[in-house]
């Protein structure tokens, strides 16, 4: 190891850890524990979804048919690409390639903002169609041959849609902020193969947010194509 790398490593070792190995392992484990709490956090919403979809299936079908599958699928693809760039970025930090790491993180941010942009378009669409719950909610299937069978419970579908995708989008915004911090810190030379656990941990967070969307997409967008069924 070069002298300058040893200095970076020792400078980063916190006093209550015996060595960098213990520190990194502890840091990674800590991040996983935090993600466990995030799983339970979203889990409450998924439980509500499960209960209401089981009880009001047709209302949910009709609600989901107002979703734009192509925008949703594009967003899924965007997030998968962002996970690729993030994974490659963490790898670049491991391999002492700070410039490459920064480029890949910037690409990740770009994908993240792309996701949020598409989401904003979708939200606007639903908003002007009175598909936001509350006093202005008004649901129509848009197909005169198949009028809404259960609009009251479709409002619940939309409540869950806005709550779940909204919470997810909030996590994306936070994620973009975290990756921006990594870019700045990386530019200032904070990371090295001996000390890159913040990069890895932000990566874990980012992949987790992708993971949530992997479930949200089929559950919200792809319930059924069949009308009245």
């Amino acid at each position: 190891m070069a002298t300058s790398e040893i200095q970076v490593a020792e400078h980063s070792l916190q006093h209550h850890f015996a060595d960098m190995a213990q520190q990194k392992e502890t840091s990674t484990f800590g991040m996983w524990m935090f993600l466990l709490t995030e799983i339970m956090f979203f889990g409450g919403l998924f439980c509500a979804y499960l209960v209401y979809r089981a009880s009001y299936y047709h209302a949910f079908v009709e609600g989901s048919q107002k979703m734009n599958i192509w925008l949703g699928a594009t967003n899924t693809a965007v997030l998968i690409c962002s996970s690729l760039s993030m994974a490659l970025g963490v790898r670049a930090a491991q391999m002492a390639k700070p410039k490459l790491m920064i480029v890949l993180m910037l690409i990740t941010i770009m994908f993240g903002l792309g996701f949020l942009g598409i989401k904003a378009v979708e939200y606007h669409e639903h908003w002007v169609n009175h598909e936001f719950p509350g006093p202005n909610f008004h649901f129509e299937t848009g197909d005169p041959a198949h009028p809404a069978t259960d609009p009251q419970h479709t409002e619940i579908y939309f409540s869950l849609y806005w709550a779940m995708t909204g919470l997810h989008a909030l996590h994306m915004v936070i994620g973009v902020g975290l990756v921006t911090w990594i870019v700045i810190a990386g530019y200032l030379g904070a990371f090295s193969p001996e000390y890159y656990s913040p990069v890895e941990n932000v990566g874990l967070y980012w992949h987790f947010v992708d993971l949530v969307w992997i479930y949200l997409f089929p559950l919200l967008y792809l319930i059924s194509k069949k009308h009245g069924g």
Partner: protein, 108 residues
């Protein structure tokens, strides 16, 4: 134990880039598959298939992008525990909703 004998080298396992590209490709294909599968009417199997595909995608993300495959057993236990606890929340809650209709006295 705290004697560091089971720690991984702190530089961490560096995964070849092509693995990441391969996983990315599989994920994209599975996304297309799930969209396509939703257009076919399979009745109750639609949801089963959709969740199966989502779980495969999720597993790949967790194992490879999130490095779980190269992490400690303790981390693996953490992930399994979270899935198990979600399962407790879902299943015990559903015992109520599924069986509510059993108590009605109309007809059956």
């Amino acid at each position: 134990m705290a004697d560091h004998s089971e720690h991984t080298d702190y530089v961490g396992h560096i995964i070849p880039a092509r693995i990441y590209y391969m996983i990315w490709a599989v994920l994209m294909v599975l996304t297309a598959t799930t969209v396509f599968a939703a257009t076919i009417e399979l009745g109750v199997f639609n949801i089963v298939l959709a969740l199966l595909i989502a779980t495969i995608k999720g597993t790949l993300v967790v194992l490879f992008f999130m490095h779980l495959r190269y992490s400690t057993k303790l981390t693996m236990v953490t992930v399994v525990a979270s899935i198990f606890w979600l399962f407790i929340l879902f299943s015990l809650t559903m015992t109520d909703y599924i069986t509510r209709a059993w108590s009605t006295y109309t007809g059956h």
